[in-house]
Amino acid sequence: MFKYIIKRLIMSVFILLGVSMIIYFLIRLMPVDFIQDKINAINQGGATVSEETVNAMYEMYGLGDNSFLGILKGYFSWLGALATLDLGTSFVYGIPVAQVIFEHMGISFAIALIATIFEFMIAIPLGITAATHQYSFRDYIVTILVMIGISLPSFFFGQMLKDVLALKLGWFPASGLVNATASFSGVELLLDYFKHMFIPILTIVILSIGARMRMTRTNMLEVMNSDYIRTARAKGLRESVVINKHAFRNTLIPLVTSLAGLLPSLFSGAIITEQVFDLPGIGNIALDAMNRGDIPFIMGYNMFLALLSVIGVLLADLMYGLVDPRVKLE
């Protein structure tokens, strides 16, 4: 087990190196005068990009030297900075990229975490009823509803909910995270947060329930056909005990594994949903920064996302070995 973890960790480092190489060379494809144009545009937009920041970026990425050796040198100097967690200074925000990411990922994480909890709480029971009543009316209704959920584009569904629940009915605020006109504190502030996050969370839950429910259903069906379930029934156990005690436990294996893989990605931010509801999460911040050509931020954010998905894959694999005693990791 220990040996396996070490091996996987080394492999993860190589994967990250590969990703960083691709991202770096993509950035190098950008013409330098285009970058200068973008910087000028940011300067005109109010924020000031200091000469120092720009020079530091040029030096860090080794821009300007387009010979093969120059590109190679630039890559390694950027990689060296990455290793010390120095992602450069954001053009738009004027503070280190790592700090921007760190400050805004909390909101994204809170929204994603609450959404994921609801998603699992709703999807798992649905998946189990659909599986135990396979091909029944109930199964069809649940399947059709979650399929519609999977097929909805997040921007369309989010705007629709916003239009109906916030703008037409006025039950919830339409955008932002806090009420700008009122100053709340304590419980009231928390309630205000919740009101603002309700529709975004609802959007995410409805869109993501489908995949989880279908996963539960498929696994449950597979387990229900296995021999030990027949044995349990032959012993004369009640159906509820067979399903909840015997079958469900094995269905949990892939669910727990996927949950472990999901955890890191909760920090990555939902770009579209956050954009629709104008939430100051990391996704929306990144979209804005990227539209304005904030190169250090783009690079930093992409590496951050890659790191999260590498950790996710690693956690899922390790978890699989932990929860399923039949699996031997080598």
């Binding site: 994967i15 990703v19 013409p31 097929s151 369309f156 916003k162 703008l167 579209i272 954009q275 894959v313």
Partner: protein, 347 residues
């Protein structure tokens, strides 16, 4: 055999004169799959949705020719405004009336009428017609992307699974790297690069989809590789080996066809997700850009214009409904195919 049938009903006596293979109803596996597919109501609904959208977007513009994709309705009204100014000169009052004629050339945000079935958008384009052209782009782009993904995935997965060892290792590690690449954020970078190199607005979406292909093939490759690893050990492969077939023939004639069922299912499901991806890109104003139409581009306007979001539902809801129909249709078909192709799930 003949004794038995003679004792049976007359009908079967007649049948007994036919050779055995005509007497028994033979069904090829393919026909059985088709029958199982059409037995499910959901797959038929999905098929109707997808075929309907295809007819709508590809034949629609040929039949409904009142408006073009980028043809503005310039029948806007002319507004007159009158301003009165009063001057007092030498004790007498003079009133000067000034009439300004302001012609709003484009008939924008028109409500649905016989002239514009779904009205016009904020620019004055006919929404109904743009839905058709948007459908063309979405369907074409997604089909191209899915075919490229499948071809690349089959080749890479086939090679990795068949040869194993170092080659397998290299291809699989490449897959690991590509799977960890972020999707939309990198598309934002590529879009910026395309902006910088001033690519024609019409071709951007194709270039972006090529990147999507580039990061999406590992899924297919893993599927193909996994299947081939288990198929490789079967007797018929030993037979193929003994016959001295070439490697290419063994991979693409004997192994890949056996992966086809899973491939078809994954293709139809990824068609749905590609349409969603394309729509999202266009919504973010990265993909198909104005004046050309795409379903996502048609919804994009509401992210900045609250008035349209609230009061002009005919501008953006139809495009969203089209996306949902397309994705749902492909998902239903994919699901139906999965059940039909799964030999274990016989009903």
């Amino acid at each position: 055999m003949s004794e038995n049938t003679k004792n049976d009903t007359k009908e079967e006596v007649v049948d007994s004169e036919l050779p055995l293979d005509k007497n028994v109803r033979l069904m090829s596996p393919a026909r059985m799959v088709v029958r199982r597919f059409f037995r499910s109501k959901l797959s038929i609904v999905g098929l109707i949705m997808v075929v309907g959208l295809f007819i709508f977007s590809f034949l629609g513009p040929l039949v409904y020719t009142q408006w073009g994709e980028i043809e503005l309705d310039e029948s806007g009204k002319t507004e007159y405004s009158v301003t009165e100014t009063t001057y007092t000169v030498d004790g007498r009052e003079y009133t000067v009336r000034q009439t300004t004629e302001k012609s709003l050339k484009d008939n924008f945000l028109a409500p649905p009428s016989s002239e514009h079935i779904l009205g016009t958008d904020n620019e004055g384009y006919d929404i109904f017609v743009r839905l058709m052209y948007g459908g063309r782009i979405s369907l074409i782009v997604s089909f191209i992307a899915v075919f490229l993904i499948t071809i690349l995935g089959v080749i890479m997965g086939g090679i990795a699974g068949f040869f194993g060892g170092v080659i397998d290792n290299i291809i699989m590690r490449a897959c690991d790297i590509l799977i960890c690449l972020p999707g939309i954020p990198i598309l934002l970078i590529i879009s910026t690069i395309l902006d910088a190199s001033e690519i024609d607005a019409k071709y951007r979406i194709y270039l972006l989809m090529i990147y999507l292909t580039f990061i999406s093939w590992p899924g297919t490759a893993r599927l193909v590789r996994g299947q081939i690893l288990s198929l490789r050990e079967q007797e018929y492969m030993v037979a193929a080996e003994a016959m001295g077939y070439s490697t290419g023939r063994k991979i693409f004639k004997h192994l890949v066809p056996n992966v086809m069922p899973q491939l078809i299912v994954s293709m139809s499901l990824s068609l749905g997700s590609m349409i969603l991806y394309e729509a999202t890109l266009s919504y973010l104003n990265l993909g198909v850009k104005a004046p050309y139409a795409a379903w996502g581009t048609m919804i994009n306007i509401i992210s900045t214009n609250q008035d349209i979001l609230q009061n002009h539902l005919n501008v953006w809801v139809p495009a969203g409904v089209c996306i949902v129909i397309a994705v749902l249709g492909f998902n239903f078909i994919g699901d139906g195919l999965r059940d039909a192709l799964d030999p274990k799930a016989r009903r």
